[in-house]
C-alpha cells in the first residue's frame, strides 16, 4: 500500500449492535486514493451492514469513520454524499417512473444551487445549471454506453444495463469513494465480464476509489488491489488476492471445517 497516496476512507474500531447481536465488531480499514478494495465474506457476515454504516444509513454504537479527512461518524447520508461518497445497492434501486436521463440528472442535485425564485422566473442561473446538468448527464451516459436509452424508462432496460445505470447515477455526484454492493448479483457470465470492464474503466477514467462487496470470486480476484474478509462482523483476513485465496481461515469460513 502506497503511503504517499491520500487517505480516502479510514474506519476505526467500528461496531454496531442490534439488541444482543453485534452485526459489525471492531472493524478497521484504511483505504487510499485510487485503490480498488474487495470486501468479501459468507452470507450474513455483515458486509451490507458495514456499507450502511459507512454511508450513514445506520449509526454505529462504537467507532469512527473518516472520509477524505473529515469525521463523518455523526453525519447523515446526504451530508456524506457531499463529502464524497456514493453507493449502489444489492437490489438495484432506480427511480422507476423516471427516464434513464432523469435518473442520472437527479444525482447532480448537490452541484446545483438555484432556488425557488430562479425556478419561478427561469433566471439565467436556472437555465444554465439545468443545461449543464443535462449535458453532464448525457456525457456520463455516453461513457457507460447508455446514451441511446436516455429517454426510456429506467426499468425498461436489461438487468445488466440497469446496474450500469445505477453506477452512472452514482458517478454524477463526483464522488471520491464509490461503494458497490454486490454489483454482479443476478448477472450471467457475459454481463459480469462487461461489468468488470466497466469498473476497471471508470477507475482509470475518473481516478475514483472503489470499495466492492461481492460473492463472485472471479470478479473480486480479477480486479481488486487487496481484499478484506469478514465473518460474523469481524475481520478474519486482509491481503492481496493470492494471499486470500490460500488463507486457511477464509476457506474455513466459506466451506466449513473439515
Amino acid at each position: 500500500m502506497n503511503k504517499n497516496k491520500k487517505g480516502i476512507l479510514k474506519v476505526k474500531k467500528l461496531s454496531i449492535q442490534f439488541g444482543g447481536l453485534k452485526a459489525v465488531d471492531n472493524f478497521n480499514i484504511d483505504i487510499k486514493e485510487g485503490e480498488l478494495i474487495g470486501l468479501i465474506g459468507p452470507n450474513g457476515a455483515g458486509k451490507t451492514t458495514l456499507f450502511n454504516l459507512i454511508t450513514g444509513v445506520y449509526q454505529p454504537t462504537v467507532g469512527s469513520i473518516t472520509l477524505c479527512g473529515q469525521d463523518v461518524t455523526n453525519m447523515n447520508t446526504h451530508k456524506r454524499v457531499l463529502t464524497g461518497i456514493a453507493r449502489t445497492f444489492q437490489n438495484i434501486r432506480l427511480f422507476s417512473s423516471m427516464t434513464v436521463l432523469e435518473n442520472v440528472m437527479v444525482a447532480n442535485n448537490i452541484n446545483m444551487h438555484y432556488g425557488l425564485w430562479d425556478t419561478v422566473f427561469h433566471t439565467k442561473k436556472y437555465k444554465q445549471e439545468e443545461k449543464e446538468t443535462r449535458e453532464k448527464a448525457i456525457r456520463i451516459l455516453k461513457i457507460f454506453d447508455l446514451e441511446e436509452y436516455k429517454d426510456d424508462l429506467a426499468t425498461s432496460l436489461a438487468y445488466g444495463k440497469q446496474r450500469k445505470l445505477e453506477i452512472a447515477r452514482a458517478m454524477m455526484t463526483d464522488a471520491k469513494l464509490l461503494c458497490l454492493d454486490e454489483p454482479a448479483a443476478g448477472m450471467n457470465p457475459s454481463e459480469t465480464e462487461e461489468l468488470m470492464k466497466t469498473i476497471s474503466f471508470i477507475r482509470k477514467e475518473f481516478g475514483i476509489t472503489i470499495l466492492l462487496i461481492e460473492h463472485d470470486m472471479k470478479l473480486v480476484m480479477g480486479i481488486c488491489d487487496w481484499i478484506t474478509v469478514i465473518n460474523f462482523g469481524k475481520t478474519i483476513a486482509c491481503g492481496k488476492p493470492d494471499e486470500i485465496r490460500n488463507n486457511h481461515a477464509v476457506i474455513v469460513a466459506y466451506l466449513g471445517d473439515d
Partner: protein
C-alpha cells in the same frame, strides 16, 4: 398476476418548442374567453360552479403535490384550506372593512368596490381579494412548514397520514371554538365576491407555478423521494428538507384556495370537516395521483356531477351524494386504479399525438365509406 408491459418511449410526436408555446397561449386565451363569457351569462349557477371548480382545482393540485408527487398520504388537507379561509375571513371582516368604515360610510365603500349596479368589481375590490388570498397563502405556508418540521422527520406512511388527520380535525376544532360563533359566522354572507376571471387567473397561475416547480431540480428530487427515498438520499437529495419543502408549497396553494373560497359567492355553505379532505383526495385519485392534468380533468367533472347531475336525481340521492362518491371511489379502485391519466402529464406531445390518432381514425372510416360507395 398480470403485469402490463410499461411504455418505454415517450409519445411518438415531438412538437417544436415554438408549437408548444403557441399551443399554451391559445389554451390560456380560450380559457380566458370562457371565463369572460361565464361572467356575463345570466345564469346564477354557472359562475358559482365555475368559481368552485377553479378554487377546488387549486386545492386539489396542492394535495396532489404531496400525495401524488411526493407520495405521502395526507388525510387532513382540508385543514390547510380552512386556515386560508379563516385568514381571508378575518382580514375582510376585522381589518379591511373596519378600516374602511372609519373613513367612509358602508354605501360609499360598496361604490368603491363595485360599480353602480353592484355587479362589476372595481380595481379596489380585485385588490382586496388578491391581497387576502396571497396573505392567506403565505400564512398557511408557515403553518405547513411548522407541521412539516415537526412531523416529517419522524413519521411516514400510515402514521403520517393519521397525524395529518389529527391535525386537520384539531384545526377545525380550534376554528369552531376560537372564532366568535365558529362556522356559523364563517358561513354568513361574504361582503365581497370575486369574478370568474379572477379565479380563472389564479388557477392558471397555480398550474404554471406548480408545473415549473415539478420540472425543477426540486420537483425531480421530490419524485425521486417518492420512488425510493433511500436511493434518493444516497444520490445527494436532502430528503427531509425536500419533504418539508413539498409540504410548505402544498400548504401555500391550499391556503390560496381557502383564501379565494372566502370570496367565492354571497352565500357559502362551508363544509370543512373530514369531508373536504376526503373529497380532495377523491379528486386527485380519480384524475391520477401525480398527474396535474388528471386533477384538472377530474375536478371539473366531479363538480359538474355534484352541481348539475345530482340535483336531477330523486331527493334521496341528491341529499346523499356520499353513496355516489362511494360507488365512484370503489369503481375507480377496482377498475382503473391509476385514475384517468395515471401518472402521465398532458404535455403538448400527447395532445398532438392524440390528434394524429383521431385524424387517422377518421381517414380510415372515410376510406371505408368511399370504397363502399364505389362498389
Amino acid at each position: 398476476m398480470k403485469n402490463k408491459i410499461k411504455k418505454t418511449q415517450a409519445p411518438k410526436k415531438h412538437v417544436s418548442k415554438k408549437t408548444q408555446l403557441i399551443s399554451t397561449i391559445v389554451a390560456i386565451v380560450l380559457f380566458a374567453v370562457v371565463s369572460v363569457l361565464i361572467d356575463g351569462s345570466s345564469s346564477l349557477m354557472l359562475p358559482k360552479v365555475f368559481n368552485k371548480i377553479c378554487i377546488f382545482s387549486i386545492a386539489a393540485l396542492s394535495l396532489n403535490l404531496v400525495c401524488g408527487n411526493l407520495g405521502e398520504l395526507v388525510l387532513g388537507h382540508g385543514g390547510f384550506v380552512l386556515i386560508g379561509y379563516v385568514v381571508s375571513y378575518l382580514l375582510t371582516n376585522y381589518v379591511i372593512f373596519p378600516a374602511l368604515q372609519d373613513s367612509m360610510a358602508m354605501s360609499e365603500i360598496y361604490n368603491v368596490i363595485y360599480n353602480v349596479h353592484g355587479s362589476e368589481l372595481h380595481a379596489a375590490g380585485y385588490a382586496i381579494i388578491i391581497g387576502n388570498a396571497i396573505i392567506a397563502a403565505l400564512i398557511t405556508a408557515v403553518f405547513g412548514y411548522i407541521v412539516g418540521v415537526i412531523v416529517l422527520g419522524r413519521l411516514k406512511g400510515d402514521y403520517l397520514a393519521i397525524v395529518t388527520l389529527g391535525f386537520g380535525l384539531v384545526f377545525v376544532c380550534l376554528v369552531q371554538n376560537l372564532i366568535p360563533n365558529g362556522f356559523t359566522s364563517l358561513n354568513s354572507s361574504s361582503k365581497l365576491t370575486g369574478t370568474p376571471m379572477l379565479f380563472a387567473g389564479f388557477l392558471v397561475l397555480t398550474v404554471f407555478l406548480l408545473t415549473m416547480f415539478i420540472k425543477s431540480r426540486f420537483g425531480r428530487g421530490i419524485i425521486a423521494i417518492r420512488e425510493d427515498a433511500i436511493a434518493a438520499e444516497s444520490s445527494g437529495i436532502p430528503v427531509n428538507k425536500y419533504k418539508i419543502l413539498a409540504f410548505t408549497v402544498s400548504a401555500f396553494f391550499a391556503g390560496l384556495a381557502g383564501g379565494l373560497y372566502c370570496h367565492f359567492g354571497p352565500q357559502t355553505a362551508v363544509q370543512f370537516n373530514q369531508d373536504l379532505s376526503i373529497l380532495l383526495l377523491l379528486y386527485i385519485v380519480l384524475g391520477g395521483l401525480g398527474s396535474f392534468t388528471g386533477t384538472l380533468i377530474a375536478t371539473p367533472l366531479l363538480e359538474i356531477l355534484n352541481s348539475y347531475v345530482l340535483v336531477v336525481l330523486p331527493a334521496s340521492f341528491s341529499n346523499n351524494p356520499k353513496i355516489i362518491y362511494g360507488i365512484l371511489l370503489i369503481c375507480i379502485m377496482l377498475f382503473k386504479n391509476k385514475g384517468i391519466m395515471g401518472t402521465n402529464e398532458f404535455g403538448w406531445d400527447w395532445f398532438y399525438t392524440l390528434l394524429d390518432k383521431i385524424k387517422l381514425f377518421f381517414k380510415r372510416v372515410f376510406k371505408k365509406r368511399k370504397s363502399e360507395v364505389a362498389s
